[in-house]
Each structure stands twice: as C-alpha cells, then as structure tokens.
C-alpha cells in the first residue's frame, strides 16, 4: 500500500452482463479523504461501476487500484477485506437478522478492540439504530434501513466507501442526516465515492463529480463548477 497514491484509481474499466456492455471504458480517480459523486440518470451505469469496483462484477478490461494496489479480478469478499466498503443499491440487508447482528457481521474483520470502537462510533453517528439493536432489519423503516446499510459497511473499517444511491426512496430530511455524516467520515480518513441520481444532492455533498451517460463518463470537474454548467442539466432533462 502506498500512502501517497490516490485512494482509488479506475482506469478504462469495461464491464457488462452477457452480451451487454454496461460500463464502457470508464476512468476516474478518488483522492484520499475526498468525496466524489458519480451522477447520471437511471441506466447510465452508476450501479454497475460501483459493483465492478466492489468485485461483484469482474471487469472485462481495465484496472482498479486501491492506494496503488491492484484489486481488479479479486473475489468480492477479499476486496471488502482489502478496505472497500460497499453500500449496494437496494441496501441488501439481511431481513431476518437483527440490527446488532448486522453490526457484528460487518465488524468481524477488525480486531475486537477496534470492533468495539467502531460500534460505539456507529451508535453515535446513527442514534436511531441504538434504540433498535434487537429489531429485525426487515421491520425497520426505509431511512433506518439505509443507515443500517451504511453502518454495516463502515463496520468493515473501510478506507474507501462506495455509496449506491443512498437517497433513493428517502425523505429529504433523512437524506440530509445521512449526508451530514460525510465530513465526520472524511475526518476519520474515509474516502467516499457516491453514486447519485439526484443532481443537486450529489453536487452539494461532493468535492468533485463525474457525470455518466450510457456507460461512459461525459463530464467531470469541480462540484461547484458543474452546478453552474448548463450541460449537466441538459444531459438530465434533455432541454
């Protein structure tokens, strides 16, 4: 591991399912302690990009490096162990396991002392979960489920967190409380790659952003600059 290398570098990643190419030569970079948004309409390839990085879909071509260390083609559970936390789309919780079980399963990779520390931190970050430790995940509200999915990923003590549309189906207030954890995470040394359909949300939460369309990156730059760039809205609304 190279401390000076960017947290995550994706170069020319191409992936797909069967004959379908969904990700077409995507390159991006995520600096250490940076929050970067990947924006785009439904079907643009955001989820596939994150799944490819997380190892759930092996890339056909291209390289993915975590702090300089190549991780492409490794099995997904090893990539998690290497330090990539993934909050998948659809959350993928274990509906019949309790909140505490989720934290335990996520925290298994760390030492017992670190586990206790992480768990304490999660309960501070998401106090709502602390009140529902014994409750089954399937019975939580949408917002609580999203928090649990994030908490579970953070329990793996990741250096890079992949967040797949955490705002989906959530009321704006809850989304806000999720996004408010970013500065804290950043302070703890976590870099965040955020896939987001909502343009304003994504741009307001990130330092930089990439805009995807049909499996490629079409625009990229500073979040503030992109917010002013009419081309971004045009890609979305087709005006």
């Amino acid at each position: 591991m190279n401390k000076d290398a960017p947290a995550l570098v994706v170069e020319d990643a191409t992936a797909g399912i069967g004959p379908l190419t969904i990700l077409d030569g995507v390159s991006l970079e995520l600096g250490s302690r940076e929050v970067v948004a990947v924006l785009g309409a439904n079907g643009a390839g955001k989820t596939t990009l994150l799944r490819t990085i997380a190892g759930l879909l092996p890339p056909r071509r291209g390289s993915i490096r975590l702090f300089g260390e190549p991780i492409e083609g490794r099995p997904a559970h090893e990539i998690t162990r290497a330090g990539i936390g993934h909050v998948p789309s659809g959350r993928e919780l274990f509906p019949r396991l309790s909140v505490a079980d989720h934290l335990e399963l996520g925290g298994r990779l760390s030492s017992p002392a670190r586990r206790v520390e992480l768990r304490q931190r999660m309960l501070e970050m998401f106090p709502a979960l602390g009140q529902r430790l014994g409750q089954r995940a399937g019975t939580l509200s949408g917002g609580e489920q999203q928090m649990l999915a994030i908490a579970r990923a953070l329990m793996t003590d990741p250096r890079v967190l992949l967040l797949d549309e955490p705002s989906t189906g959530l009321a704006p207030k809850i989304v806000l409380s999720v996004f408010q954890t970013f500065p804290l995470l950043r302070k703890q040394g976590v870099s965040i790659l955020l896939a987001e359909q909502s343009l304003t949300l994504g741009l307001s939460a990130a330092d930089r952003a990439y805009v995807m369309d049909q499996g490629r990156i079409v625009l990229s730059g500073n979040a503030a600059a992109l917010a002013e760039d009419h081309r971004v809205v045009d890609t979305y609304l087709g005006r």
């Binding site: 998690t80 274990f94 335990e104 793996t156």
Partner: protein
C-alpha cells in the same frame, strides 16, 4: 414405512385404551417424540434449501443409507447404534462438501435453469444412492433392536428408543439453532442465504459458506438416519418418502424459518400419531402428501412461493 406404523399404533392401543384422556395424552406424547425426530430430518434439508436454493432430492437416500449403515454396524459389532452418530456427522459432512463441489456447484453456474438442473442432478443422485444401498444392504425393511422396553409414568408408556432418539434429534436441532443464531459463523450462513451481495460486502466468503452449509446439512441428515433406524424399520425404498416428508415440513413451516419448521415437524408428528391410531397405517402414510397438496393449493401465499 407402513409396517412400523402398525407397531407403534398397536403399542398405543394396548397401553392407553383404559381412558380417553390417557389415550389422547399418549398419542400426543408419541407424536411429539416422533416430531422431535422430524425436526432434525427437516432442518437439515432446510439449511441446504435455504442457503443454496437447492432442493436436495437425495436427502432421503442419505438418511436411509446412514440408517442402514448403522444397522449393519450394530449387528456386526453389537455396540450401541448411537456410537455411529459422530461418525455419521463427520462422514456425512465430508461427503456433502464433496458432493457440493463436484455436482452442485457446476450446475449452479447455469443461471436461470440452475434450480431445475440441480433438482434433476439430485434426483439422479438419489437413485444412485438407493441402488447402492440395495446392493449393500438388500431390500428388506430393517430396524435396530435397541432399548425396546418402555418407561412407565402413571398410565403413560414411553418407548425408550423413541424417547432417546427424539431427545437426541431435538438436542441436535437445538444446537443447530443455537449455532445459527448465536455464533458468528452461523450468522454468516444466515446472512449469505438472506442476501449474498450483502454478505460479500461484509467480507463473508459466500462460496465457502455454501460448502459448509451443504456439509452440515448432509452431516445432520446422516445423523437423522442413525436415529430413524432405531425407532422405525427402514429400507432403501423408504428414501423418497423421507425426502418428501422433509419437504412437506418445510413447506408447512416456511423456508428458512427454523422455528416455523420445528413447529411444523412437531405438528406433523402429532397428526400422524393420531391419524395412525384412528384411521390406520395407510392414512398415516399418506397424511404428509395430502397435507402437501392441501397446503400448496389452498394454503396462504407464502407456501406457494417456495418454487
């Protein structure tokens, strides 16, 4: 299978006919003990079905094969059949893990048709095992004569073998339940069955978990076979009845729902014990199949979503 029904029902008839209340209680106790054994028979399949989505149609043949081996062992050595338990657990687990790697895993790569293909593969495997058993052990119904007396408690009589087998099976099922819900590796297994993607994102090696689940499932099935042979006559032909029995219980109790399956197993044990006494061996034998059809066709939606 039919033959042993007559035996057990006869016991109940002789010893409990003095009073209606005693009779009912006796039938209930017999049913619960039988149900305790059914829990293990069903739970081992539930584990494999729940985690892998594979209906292991060779389940019953594993039970029958282990039972017949136990018979051979205790006839040969004169030792207690329960000594075979650890051997059955270990041997079953090893065979199960090997079978998963060689037969199931390649088929699971087939995408949408994987479920159907694995069904066909285990269907074929069941016949290989049954034939093997027929070759080695012959086609006669056999049972290990073990603890043939009864414990008396007032007017009630508990067949010792039934008590011991039911208790062992219940303890093993409880251990399984404890392992699944109280240990990390058990929870990892539940997690992998409820969301493979979520499990991978926790760093759980899902492929390895599947191997373990299959191993444990087959090991427990073999252990169930050791206990079955102690209380009822088994022949290689019994295999498919046992598979269906386990499947009926899972359909009744809910896939992946370990408490529900335990309750269903006990209920079926009691229902069979009652039906066997009042309606005879044939009724007892077809009861699971009738229940299966009734539940699948008329039961609440969740029973119909298994496929």
């Amino acid at each position: 299978m039919r033959r042993r029904r007559a035996r057990r029902a006869g016991t109940a008839r002789r010893e409990g006919a003095s009073e209606v209340g005693t009779l009912a209680l006796q039938l209930l106790v017999n049913g619960i003990l039988l149900g305790g054994l059914y829990v293990l028979v069903a739970q081992s399949l539930n584990l494999i079905f729940g985690v892998m989505g594979v209906v292991n149609l060779a389940h019953g043949s594993i039970i029958a094969l282990a039972g017949l081996f136990t018979y051979w062992f205790s006839m040969r050595t004169g030792l207690s059949p329960l000594l075979v338990l650890p051997l059955a657990l270990a041997g079953g687990a090893a065979a199960g893990a090997a079978g998963q790697r060689l037969l199931i895993e390649p088929v699971m790569q087939a995408g949408a048709k994987a479920g159907l293909l694995s069904l066909i593969v285990t269907f074929g495997l069941s016949y290989v095992l049954i034939e093997l058993a027929l070759q080695v052990f012959g086609s006669d119904f056999v049972s290990v004569p073990y603890l043939q007396s009864s414990w008396k408690l007032g007017a009630l009589a508990f067949g010792k073998a039934l008590v011991v087998a039911g208790a062992f099976a219940a303890v093993m099922s409880a251990l399984l339940y404890w392992w699944l819900n109280r240990t990390y590796s058990g929870k990892a297994l539940l997690a992998a069955s409820q969301s493979p993607t979520g499990a991978l994102s926790c760093g759980i090696d899902v492929a390895r978990v599947r191997l373990i689940a299959f191993g444990i499932g087959v090991g427990l099935a073999a252990a169930a076979g050791v206990l079955v042979i102690v209380i009822m006559p088994v022949a290689p032909q019994t295999a498919s009845d046992l598979t269906l029995l386990a499947f009926v219980i899972i359909a009744l109790g809910g896939l992946g729902d370990y408490l529900g399956v335990a309750a269903a197993a006990l209920l079926l044990g009691i229902a069979q014990s009652v039906a066997g006494y009042y309606l005879g061996g044939n009724a007892e034998y077809v009861l699971p199949y009738v229940l299966l059809l009734v539940v699948m066709l008329a039961g609440p939606g969740r029973f119909r979503r298994l496929g």
